[in-house]
């Protein structure tokens, strides 16, 4: 096993793990592993964006409790805690169009504090970069965060993998982790196929300022065109009450709302959010994301593992996409660290098999549930409407079932990796 990654430019850098991609999943994995003493190189294509620049994007992420614990275990949370506490979800309200039946999730039902946190992606990126910097600066630092740099070629053999970087350096590692997103270079390199499904829907996303406080309430309103969600955010300068809107629209209806002037768009939002937030004004531009499910047929290949969106991307109806990515991170980090603490090869076939066994079933079942929910809720056929009204009322009246749903949405079901249980790696 190798010591701290070598820092000589132009040389071959040796590490146990090379993480390709410095997004939420990739950099969290790199920080978790380095924090547990594993030498890691993270090849990140982007520099962290600076607020006020073109690269800065106002998107937000709803982090489930399990994800918070993973970020805590990776040492990232302290760098983002204040902003995240301001976006705590204490209460989730689910409503169906015109339906008097309300599904009301309260954190007291689960008894675990805040149910989740809505955080600006830029805040998470910044926290990750800070944590990575602190880990690299530590004596005997085990993390080398290279940015901006791309992997231009990858060669895998029985003992490990060698990657060529765009800056001319080379990295030799026991294991390569593809955390490089939906169009993963690593996935294509290994010839791993994907299954895709498009919903004919697009998510319209923006942040809003509103007159009244949100009280930590997340609203999910199921409309025939698709779900409409209002998620609480922390205040920022000039916006004391702030939330994030995720509005899924049929593709043919997208242009109608995307291109409205701000004032008219705000009125449309107010109609759908209801009166409890008071007057609304958009405080960011609108982004649109086509919705669909993508799932890799395998998560592993010789010396290679995929995490996050490189392995699975899904409809954000239950806000699960990035949370699934962090569960991948927790499982892979544990498999690698356990093997290393037994003196075993951290990129060996048994480590990869354990990771795939652990995560793939969980992800497939969540994708199936979400897919079924999408079809059920994005539909105006009368019997289906009745079924889901009754279904939601039934869930509401059966506390154990409701608790299971909630704990699932919070990432607390199944055989949990140590990081998700809030234990050290």
């Amino acid at each position: 096993m190798t010591d701290a990654p070598a820092l000589f430019p132009g040389s071959e850098i040796a590490a146990d793990v090379l993480v390709v991609g410095g997004g939420l999943s990739g950099l969290t994995l790199a920080c978790a592993l380095a924090g547990a003493g594993v030498p890691v190189v993270c090849a990140d294509r982007d520099l962290p964006a600076v607020p006020g620049t073109d690269a800065f994007d106002g998107r937000t992420t709803a982090l489930a409790l399990g994800s918070r614990r993973v970020l805590e275990g990776a040492g990232v949370w302290p760098y983002m805690a204040e902003a995240a506490e301001g976006g705590s979800i204490w209460d989730i309200r689910v409503a169906d169009k015109n339906s008097p039946l309300f599904l009301h999730y309260d954190h007291q039902d689960v008894g675990l504090g805040a149910m989740g946190h809505v955080v600006d992606n830029a805040t998470i990126r910044h926290a990750l970069a800070e944590r990575a910097r602190a880990l690299s600066a530590e004596a005997g630092g085990r993390l080398l965060h290279l940015a901006p740099v791309a992997v231009t070629a990858l060669a895998r053999d029985a003992g490990g993998a060698t990657a060529e970087l765009s800056d001319g350096r080379r990295v030799r590692a026991r294991l390569v982790v593809g955390a490089d997103g939906k169009d993963s270079f690593c996935r294509k390199h290994a010839g791993i196929g994907v299954t895709r499904l498009r919903y004919g829907q697009t998510a319209l996303i923006c942040n809003i300022g509103h007159e009244k406080p949100h009280h930590g309430i997340a609203l999910e309103h199921f409309l025939p065109s698709g779900p409409f969600a209002v998620l609480p955010l922390c205040p920022v300068e000039g916006v004391p009450h702030r939330s994030s809107i995720v509005w899924s629209l049929r593709d043919d209806m997208l242009a109608l709302y995307r291109d409205l002037p701000d004032a008219a768009f705000a009125r449309e939002l107010e109609r759908r959010a209801g009166p409890w937030l008071g007057t609304i004004r958009p405080v960011t531009r609108r982004w649109s994301w086509p919705l669909g499910v993508m799932h890799a047929e395998r998560y592993v290949d010789d010396r290679l593992a995929l995490v996050g969106e490189a392995a699975h991307a899904m409809h954000p109806i239950a806000g699960q996409g990035l949370n699934m990515g962090l569960r991948d991170v927790a499982a892979l980090a544990e498999a690698v660290v356990d093997a290393r603490r037994l003196g075993l090869d951290p990129g060996g076939a048994d480590v990869l098999a354990r990771y795939q066994r652990w995560r793939r079933f969980d992800n497939v079942s969540l994708i199936a549930v979400t897919d079924a929910l999408t079809r059920l809720f994005s539909n105006d056929i009368a019997p289906l409407r009745l079924a889901r009204d009754l279904g939601m009322a039934a869930v509401h009246r059966l506390p154990p079932l409701k608790r299971l749903f909630m704990r699932h949405a919070m990432g607390m079901v199944g055989q949990l990796p140590r990081l998700i249980r809030g234990e050290p790696l």
Binding site: M1, L342, G343, L344, D345, A349, D350
Partner: protein, 256 residues
Amino acid sequence: MAAPQPDHAPRAGGTVDADEVARFSAIAAEWWDPRGKFRPLHGYNPVRLRYIRDAACRHFGRDPAAPEPLRGLSAVDIGCGGGLLTEPLSRLGAGILGIDAAERNVRVAEAHAAETGAPATYRACTAEDLVAEGRRFDLVLALEVVEHVADVPLFLGSLAALTAPGGMIAMATINRTPKAFALAIVGAEYVLRWLPRGTHDWRRFLRPSELAAGLRPHGFSVRGLTGVVYNPLTDTFSENPRDLGVNYMLWASRGP
């Protein structure tokens, strides 16, 4: 504690036959292929490693989560085969010597360690050879060996003689029970064909009590004893202290 001693005797006397090296590397690849013919051993290996690591950490007061928790300890792996146990333990910091009576196994293990850069050393010899040389180790390992030796009391005496003052012995073997006959012989050799027929002779299997009784005259007491069970549904091995019926592991040290 006895200091780790290098054991790198250049057997080929400086003239290394390239064909020979290639041949042993090919066999090493076979030993070390987790999907190859030693697949069951690869599944079992993490369980054995964890047991040895945790027992040694308890005995020597180390933290199993620390990097190189066995650093500074000397160890001998008797019947090392392709080095599946020797090599990982060398990465955990132990100054370890793997020995095997079969020259071929030792060459295979050496070839693999050279490829991975693991600091393990190997020698083709028997436990009795090391006793005759007066060697002592903090950690004496005999996993899946005692069921193959011709003279069990002599072998246990050698293990004791090789153990440095304050050191420990760790062993793994198969129990002499009807269940072991069904699973380890009929199951592993005839049904699953994990092992060649005739690998094991049920009459040579030892009960835990027999091993404990064999170590006692040398001043050793058994400190830990656990079973290992195979789950065919998940294809995984795990420790089970309540099921000693087939595979079991134990560790022992001097004193009452």
